[in-house]
Symmetry: C2
Subunit: 801 residues, 2 copies
């Protein structure tokens, strides 16, 4: 297993004294023992009795292979924390190594701090083992249940982005990030290495990546373990790191190598930070460690005639049939005793002095690092009053505004007010300006630590805006930032938010579980602004048209998912301020960047958003009476189309009683038994009626409205228009026509679905005219390349109609 | 803009003769002219009249910045194709450079081949310009409409994976892949460079990546343009490439540099392939080209006092107000005339001899490369009869089998039968063995061109299985493989298929548009096997539990989306064979890997799958009569739970008329007006009744069933159980209890929802017992760590009940 690699640090002796070496080794052995025992034992924790089948769990679930390496790093980090007085966090890429983290946090006492029922004694140890991967117990992966962690790691690829997010604006923090060599093959991880171009050595902390090159995944060797040492060195230098190598399998030698590597890395980080903070150096290669150890190191070498240690066979449970096969049981017994538990724990099961002497105290323990329970550090943002930044509109639709540009002004002020706290950042994949949030650049920069050239605008070594053309990095950095107790907003092209579907799944799971743990304090919500949305993809086409991210979020737990579709600039401000003040949610806001009518004054907007769904009385003609038909809308573009359809209908069919309902908070549509924002059936019927036709123009796929409302009494009368996956590069109005959500189609829908209406001659004429105008539209755009003048120039005329 | 970089090729003279240089330059200028003109002009294509505002499109939509570089590469590839007689495809990462590709394919005639209405003359040119980004025309991005393309590029990041997929098993093909420096920041692209470790130089073709380093994205510099030349060189050597540099902005010099670079790259590829194919060399660095040119090269240098050429301001439309601002109009006129169109096109608008002389003929034109219209090359797979591989079960549930293991045997035979054609591959993120498809390794290897060590199993330089720990790469390679006319299957942990949500969106869009183009021939379907699914995550926990990928697919167009939930091994075989024979679909199959009962014999399975949804008469007690209650199921685990619930009900309430309906083809539930597989209301009522309670146990989120059925008459009586986002590491049956889909809960549902049933004393007793057994379950698993023996040992007893 020991492979010579260029640049390896290979001291015969090293920085550790004999005492220190014994202490680090004891800590490592203790953690290895606790790790293996968690996978196998439900009783006899100290092996004080002969090991029997009845001590073994019926289902052996967990991952051994990566764990000895994680334990090795943890023990050495403990030594380095003491030696250098480090403020360090531990981010575990190979999150399946959960038992290693339970082991180390139990050894240092941080686990008992959050789980007082699992004390540092034999009974606590027994419970620790029994609970692991056991019904009613704790999961097999690193998870919110493990103190010190901000990263679950079950789905591989996000560790390094989380680590970089964690150290932003935490200049004294070091995040030690273990990257598995399997994980390193994922796309998100492969680009995460470049995060060092977005980190300020002066004002942010440091990430120390440790590539754990144990050579194998579940069933294959890893790419990085099977390229030449020269390629490996080149790759990481190309990524902007200076690798330090630790290779081998002989514990004593490896301890000295690892201690030397950590000392060197810590000193290089320190020197770089000192030089940067004194203004004398802005760019250097950051240190990283490449740790090459056997997979399943110290575990069974051979099982049933196959090599296990040092191969992919060590990935999960190296001895699979311990309960049934006496030879496996015997092998397990021998294996566990190789760690010499009697030296590591006293007769009461407490970690012995040799184990604890190189473990830091209090908040210096990685399991107790305050940043890893970010909610406990969280300070509320100083939020400007959205009303102050709103657009005053004399009457509905009298003025137009770009909603996101208005939000940009608000965010600019938010950045000014919170500048001193350095606890808010804006994240986006090269789209902040395109999404019209560029006013923030009046007061801050895009953070950039690579080369800056004359002519560059708004790039600086220290800025509140993080831009990189990777949705994965934006999301990963933001998650790391939020989980360590700060605030943020991710603005993204709507269609491409799907790139992070899987990441948001994992964050939603993290939030759900964290909410069930009293010691995990609420963190700031994960806020998305989806813009450049499906209905307005002017320079782009079909590839940029997909409103399905909100469908994805609608599958998340009701206690964490929130979806908002503000119809104009002022409602966007109100919703955004609400989201930025909230905790433990995933808030998705969908809003356009184009100039569109402002329907509500700021105070009206605040009230409308507080209600979440309400009647636009100023647009309705039912005068509080039961309407003949309800036109409902959710989303900025659908709201315009509904109001334009209402204009036509009110002009042409003056007797028709129309009600207009606008929905901002999408989960208002769901029942109050299903979602905390849901309406009762009575409220629903008060808005939508129980028996009148409802024509609903919706921003996204129509099925989402149906799935939120199918239990409502009036659902059979609900007819939803939305995106039908018809797209291309065309005019804005043609997109609506292609998807049958244009104003003329909505008029047709009203005419055809309101009982008896088409018996009226005026209605029949109107019906025909709508067909004619559709024909005219199609001919016009093909000739003129732009929408009909009457569509382009349409304005809501309010009371005059 | 000209930045010296280590290793740059900078010949004063070069390989091009004067004639060749003039020809390549003319081709480049012609393409640049056509590109700019597409963005701006709707008339006056040859500028034979003075340019007027009325010649300008009303909406200026498109991307100029990347296009001159794409044109430069295209012209040089044309020269290289002729010089070296190359079989070359062109994959465009910066797909927003659509006008460049319309321009080049029009110049070479391949565009007129597929669009005879757009001839190579002035009228054709006028139409070409007018149609671009125009209503009713063609999209602004590289898209299916462009011959020679297999890649849309609207969503950045997948070009290199597509290129590698395209050359697998095409030993004579070179895919030239332009990677944008913005795109290079995405995660998927960052890991795609490692694809060279999975390519066989002996039996596959070659990819020639060209990193187009034009320095800027929409609003920012790019990372790779702002690191040192040394870092850039190291990065690509680390990725396994030997970069060749082409830097500058002086056309003549750049033409010589680029021609020399391509000649060198082609020779290096050739030499490497020859040595590999003679068995003397297995690994070397592959050539790549780093092309550094100004963004918007040859476009307006300054606009309104700001530098445009060479900055991000050139990204879209460099002169934005041509129709309104006479100075912009004048500047456009001058700009277009710098290309000297009068030299490039004759008076009829045909490309002149100097332009065409270095353009290849026939299928050597990149727009006509047969591989880029894969359906035209597609040969059907020789599919074994699934019945031959099925499991014979005496009566329903009498034997158990691992569905995916049975499928593995089938795939093994499929590989044997099609070995000679080399047109089928299996893709998976390190999970083929874990997903129990490992029988394929009897007849093939995992393809691996990095180091192979003694002890490695099933790794070889040439194999049918592609394994890498990146869902993005698996998907990207498979898409490239399918789009060039081959077949494949992607097996993936269900939860992590979300990682490719956005990629499958783009593929679905590609299929939708391709189906509308008569010249694009149907390709093999994109087949997913989702396994290691939500209900059986033994070693893992909550992070691995998410059945939402099928929700995502359900949003795709009905003509491309198919979802199958086979209940056992034999139905899985039938469904898989069907999917592997199909064309132009996205087929999602969800099936478990654990040993579960086989309900249907192979012939019954085939019939059941053909019907898509049917009554399990052998499990029903309604004797063809109208039932009191319907128990429906979709998915392997739900089917077991429903049958177990039916066992209890039939034993205890013998008079109850129960019908069991199993759904394999999920879209059968939808109306036939919405999906081609949908049922009529009459069929639906025949299966599910119009008025009886239906208790539906579903594999995924319950809302998916509701959204498919909300228009059905009996929908109000439909009660769906499914995944409620309750998960952790626990026993298989506890997962069902946590999510209220266990057999005892289903019994309760029947008792509570069948009108009048609870008036019966036996039913009341049963109701109480179900609560008691839930209590017993909870206590038992916490003590014993495994499920109740009666649950573990349950078997369907069929007629004996």
């Amino acid at each position: 297993m020991v492979t010579a690699t260029r640049g390896a640090t290979r001291p015969r002796s090293g920085p550790l004294s004999g005492d220190q070496l014994r202490a680090v080794d004891a800590q490592w052995r203790a953690a290895n023992y606790l790790t293996a025992a968690q996978i196998y034992l439900m009783d006899n924790p100290l092996l004080t009795q002969p090991l029997l089948a009845e001590h073994i769990k019926p289902r052996l679930l967990g991952h051994w292979g990566t764990s000895p390496g994680l334990n090795f790093i943890y023990a050495h980090m403990n030594r380095a924390i003491i030696t250098h007085d480090l403020n360090a966090m531990y981010v575990i890429g190979p999150g399946h190594g959960g038992p290693a983290l339970y082991a180390n946090t139990w050894l240092e006492g941080s686990y008992s701090d959050v789980r007082p029922d699992i004390a540092q004694d034999a009974e606590g140890m027994r419970k620790l083992f029994r609970e692991f991967s056991f019904p009613g117990g704790v999961p097999s992966h690193v998870a919110p249940q493990i103190p010190g962690s901000i990263h679950e790691g079950g789905e591989l690829g996000y560790s390094l982005a989380h680590a970089y997010g964690a150290v932003l604006d935490n200049p004294d923090l070091i995040a030690v990030c273990v990257v598995g060599d399997g994980e390193a093959e994922t796309g998100p991880l492969a680009t995460s290495w470049h995060s060092n171009k977005f980190l300020s050595p002066a004002t942010d902390g440091a990430v120390l990546p440790i590539l754990h090159l144990n050579g194998y995944k579940i069933a294959n060797p890893t790419v990085l373990a099977r390229i030449t040492g020269e390629e490996l060195e080149d790759l990481f230098r190309g990524y902007g790191y200076s690798p330090i190598y630790v290779n081998g399998d002989q514990p004593e030698d490896m301890h000295q190598q690892m201690a030397a590597a950590l000392d060197r890395a810590v000193m290089e980080i320190h020197d770089f930070q000192v030089l940067s903070r004194s203004g004398t150096l802005h760019r250097a290669l950051w240190p990283m460690i490449v740790l090459r150890t056997p997979k399943g190191w110290t575990g069974p070498a051979m099982v049933d005639g196959h090599q296990v240690e040092g191969t992919w066979r060590a990935h999960q449970v190296p001895l699979p049939n311990v309960r049934e096969d006496p030879s496996h049981l015997e092998q397990l017994d021998k294996w566990l005793r190789t760690y010499r538990p009697e030296e590591l724990f006293d007769s009461q099961g407490r970690p012995s002095r040799v184990v604890t002497q190189m473990i830091p105290q209090g908040d210096r323990r990685m399991g107790s690092n305050p940043h890893a329970n970010g909610g406990a550090l969280l300070a509320s943002l100083a939020l400007p009053d959205p009303a102050t930044f709103g657009v005053v509109t004399g009457q509905p639709g009298a003025v137009t505004a770009s909603p996101t540009r208005v939000l940009g002004r608000y965010l600019r002020e938010l950045m000014v007010r919170n500048a001193g706290h350095r606890n808010f950042r804006l994240f986006g994949p090269d789209e902040t300006e395109s999404n019209k949030l560029g006013d923030v650049y009046d007061v801050t920069d895009k953070q950039w630590s690579a080369t800056i050239l004359p002519g560059d605008q708004h790039l600086g070594p220290d800025g509140r805006v993080m831009e990189v053309l990777s949705e994965h990095l934006c999301q990963g950095w933001l998650e790391g930032y939020l989980l360590t107790g700060r605030h943020g907003l991710f603005s993204c092209y709507e269609a491409f938010t799907h790139i992070v579907d899987s990441m948001v799944n994992q964050h939603a799971k993290w939030l759900k579980v964290s909410r069930e743990l009293p010691w995990r304090k609420p963190i700031a919500s994960l806020n998305y602004l989806l813009t450049s949305h499906v209905w307005r993809q002017d320079h782009n086409g079909f590839s940029h048209q997909d409103p399905g991210f909100i469908d994805h979020i609608a599958n998340k737990r009701a206690e964490v998912a929130r979806i908002y579709l503000p119809p104009d600039a002022n409602t966007l401000l109100s919703v955004a301020a609400h989201c930025l003040a909230s905790r433990d949610y995933i808030n998705v806001i969908v809003a356009g960047k184009n100039y569109t009518p402002v329907w509500l004054n700021p105070e009206q907007a605040a009230l409308h958003c507080a209600r979440g769904a309400d009647i636009f009385e100023w647009a309705s003609s039912d005068a509080g009476d039961t309407p003949d038909v309800v036109l409902a809308c959710a989303g900025d573009v659908p709201t315009i189309e509904v109001l334009a359809a209402v204009s036509i209908l009110r002009k042409r069919l003056s007797g028709l009683k129309i009600r207009v309902v606008n929905v901002v908070d999408l989960f208002r549509l769901q029942s109050d038994s299903q979602h905390p924002h849901g309406m009762s059936d009575t409220e629903y019927n008060t808005l939508f009626t129980a028996d009148r036709p409802v024509i609903f123009a919706f921003h996204g796929y129509p099925s989402l409205i149906h799935r939120l409302t199918y239990r409502r009494g009036g659902h059979a009368n609900l007819h939803v228009r939305g995106y039908l996956e018809e797209g291309t590069t065309t005019t804005p109005f043609d997109m609506l026509v292609l998807n049958k959500m244009d104003r003329f189609q909505l008029v047709i829908d009203v005419l055809e679905r309101t009982p008896g209406l088409l018996e009226d001659a005026a209605a029949q004429r109107l019906r025909d005219e709508m067909d004619q105008i559709h024909d005219r539209h199609r001919a016009w755009i093909r000739t003129h390349g732009d929408d009909l003048p009457e569509v382009q120039n349409w304005r809501w005329e309010g009371e005059r109609e």
